[in-house]
């Protein structure tokens, strides 16, 4: 009896291991048979409506291809895709912000673009159709690994009514420098003691790679040296930018803080609790959908990303991309179908701009189109993009962003000196770089 019990016990312990061993990805059908493309993307109601329509049309034109579109909240999408790939159960096609997506290329998890399937004659034809340099981000070893669903940069949205309430004319008095941004915010802010009831402007925490690195660059600093081997270049610039954030926070002039409700979502409501916020062109579609009255009033405007008064470089907020990528483990027939789908969807760039959430697909055709030029304030974004660069997208960019967040919060919320924060930040980021 004892023996039987021991054997049964061992079987019960080992059975799950054998189940795990058998858990490999199921093979997909070959090219001649019907295929299913599992497409995972982040939530965006306007884009969902458009893509549902496009996918229906695509499936009609390609009856052997079934597309299953799955959405996740933006914050969850990164982890969901990563976990699925780690378990070899990744989607056939997906998109993520490039700073999170690049690791999929460097780890060989995604397949190079199938030019013909995506609707291009060859690689050169693809490169010719996109704005110069945009595809460099996803080009490794001469192969292009992604097609851009969107390219986004942030400018500053202003609520003119709030400006008027303190006797300012937004068209004339808008902030051109960060110093002016702080001074104007001081005029716009309404406090109950220490508590901010209305903020002038507030940053888009914690996306520091997008907006804080350019602020450091304006002062002459850099995240990495030109050869990518040294971290945190230019102490004075880093200390200056951190000191500005310290002054911005509750321990300084108390103009904003990461623990207040995020400014971008408050802005659309026009509830007199925020005057300015960071966002991309897509915000226009969101204002229109959340508060059409406010949108139609045109009591809002967009201004360029400010620079410091003593800036040595004129740099705007970094732009970032979401790219369509295809799982290298998917059946070749499924990969081909996925690239075909990506190419089809991206051939509707103007639809994405006008009714798909106001997102910009960086094709030369779209940049030259009247549709983009006629979007309110689109020129502000285009001009800012010209003085910006792609966000840092190394394999460990998420980790680096964590350390930058820690440095900013330590000076802004815990009262640490910018000098000490820079020293700690350098040690941490250098270690990340050395390990890469």
């Amino acid at each position: 009896m004892k023996k039987t019990l021991v054997i049964l016990l061992l079987i019960s312990m080992l059975l799950p291991l054998s189940l795990f061993a058998a858990g490999t990805k199921e093979d997909k059908v070959d090219a001649s048979k019907p295929v299913t493309v599992n497409y995972w993307t982040h939530e965006d109601p306007a884009r969902t409506t458009l893509e549902t329509e496009l996918i229906e049309q695509f499936m009609k034109e390609n009856p052997n291809i079934t597309v299953v579109r799955t959405t996740n909240p933006s914050s969850k999408q990164i982890e969901v895709v990563q976990t699925a790939f780690a378990a070899k159960q990744g989607p056939d096609m997906f998109n993520l912000p490039i700073e999170n997506q690049y690791a999929y290329i460097s780890n060989g998890l995604v397949a190079p673009v199938d030019y013909q399937a995506a609707g291009y004659k060859n690689e050169q034809d693809l490169l010719d159709k996109y704005v110069d340099g945009v595809l460099d981000t996803v080009t490794v070893g001469g192969e292009v690994y992604g097609l851009p669903l969107e390219l986004t940069n942030w400018a500053i949205y202003i609520n003119k009514r709030v400006f008027r309430s303190v006797g300012l004319d937004a068209e004339r008095d808008y902030p051109k420098t960060w110093e002016e941004m702080a001074d104007i915010s001081e005029k716009l802010v309404i406090r109950d003691g220490d508590i901010l009831l209305r903020r002038g402007f507030d940053f888009r925490y914690p996306y520091y790679l997008e907006f804080f690195i350019p602020m450091v660059e304006q002062l002459g600093g850099d995240l990495l040296s030109a050869d990518g081997k040294k971290a945190i270049i230019g102490d004075d610039a880093w200390i200056g930018a951190l000191r500005f954030m310290q002054q911005w926070g509750p321990l300084g002039r108390n103009l904003g803080s990461p623990t207040y409700k995020n400014a971008r979502s408050l802005f659309n409501q026009d509830n007199n609790d925020i005057a300015m916020t960071h966002s991309g062109l897509y915000q226009e579609a969101r204002i229109k959908s959340d508060n059409p009255e406010f949108y139609d009033s045109m009591d809002w405007m967009v201004i360029p990303f400010p620079v410091f008064e003593n800036a040595v470089r004129n740099v705007a907020a970094c732009y970032y991309g979401h790219f369509f990528m295809v799982n290298a483990d998917s059946d070749p027939a499924v990969q081909k179908a996925a690239w075909k789908l990506a190419g089809f969807m991206l051939s509707h760039g103007e639809d994405y701009l006008t009714r798909g959430g106001s997102i910009i697909q960086p094709t030369k055709a779209l940049f030259a189109s009247d549709t983009l030029k006629n979007m309110p304030y689109s020129q502000v974004f285009i001009d800012d993009m010209a003085r910006a660069h792609m966000i840092y997208y190394g394999e460990n960019s998420a980790q680096i962003q964590q350390h930058i967040r820690q440095a900013i919060e330590s000076v802004m919320l815990s009262g640490e000196s910018p000098e000490k924060a820079v020293a700690t930040l350098r040690a941490a980021v250098q270690e990340v770089i050395d390990e890469q």
Binding site: T83, P258, A398, Q406
Partner: protein, 310 residues
Amino acid sequence: MRTRKYRGIERKQARWGFLFVLPAMLFFSLFNFYPILNAFYTSFFNRKVLSRAKPAFVGLDNYARLFDISRAANPLSFYNSLKATITFTLGTFIPLLILSLILAVFISNLSSNRAKKFLQISYYAPAVLSSVVAASIWMIIFDPRGLANQWLNVLMRTPGVDRKWLVDPMMEQMSTMIIYFWKYIGYFVILFITGLASIPPTLYEAATIDGANKSQTFWRITLPLLKPTVVLVSVMSMLQCLKTFSTQYMLYTNGAPRAPINVITFNIYITGIQEQYLSRASAMSVVLFIIMMLLTLLQFKTTKSENVDY
């Protein structure tokens, strides 16, 4: 001719018993035993989540890195996670234990059954909420313009003061403790009430006849006989506190600084999922597992007593 073996009824029952628990064992093996073993194994390699390269064996390097004293100054180091975990556990588990016992005794002594039931349900209600929902409710309360500041400012006649619930490191730690305490107090109160109900009323009657007052009854009868429940609650609440995660996660994703609330489980999540260092995260899990095991053994040893028979 085969002789028929004698099988006692106890043996037969034991076999049936084993068959009944087999599904649970399979379930446990699949979802607990395998991940534990796998974490131990993974902690000796340099595995990254998305890497396809075969992970290299690094021996105890991941553990050495965790306890590398030169990293202690980094606010996001494992040392600081240990500190944050200890602070949170002591700051939550001791008040949880003491106050849940006091509340249980108070509720058990109420004469009205309606009041008893009402209080039991009221205290237990937060326990059925998911941690994420609980933390979301408290995020609204702790907002600078939220109820926490408003009420305190009215009570203390300090208009416009921001207590910095989610900003100041100490207040942030206290906020996580308050959320956790609010969520779990009811659960432990119910456990204590169950323990109290199992003490025979004849003992109290005898004590009353002997002239014992309420305080003497509590210290001489209730508390000693409740010892097994106290041990159970203390072990469970301590383990719960050591495993805390979602409260810290919610606060962090809503803009609160990470360092003061970077408990080990949260550090595991950031290291393993966001930064993709699976082996390092596994090493942290193993250390947490060992800490939990040692503390549980220590608690059992220090509170070990003979079985209570009534």
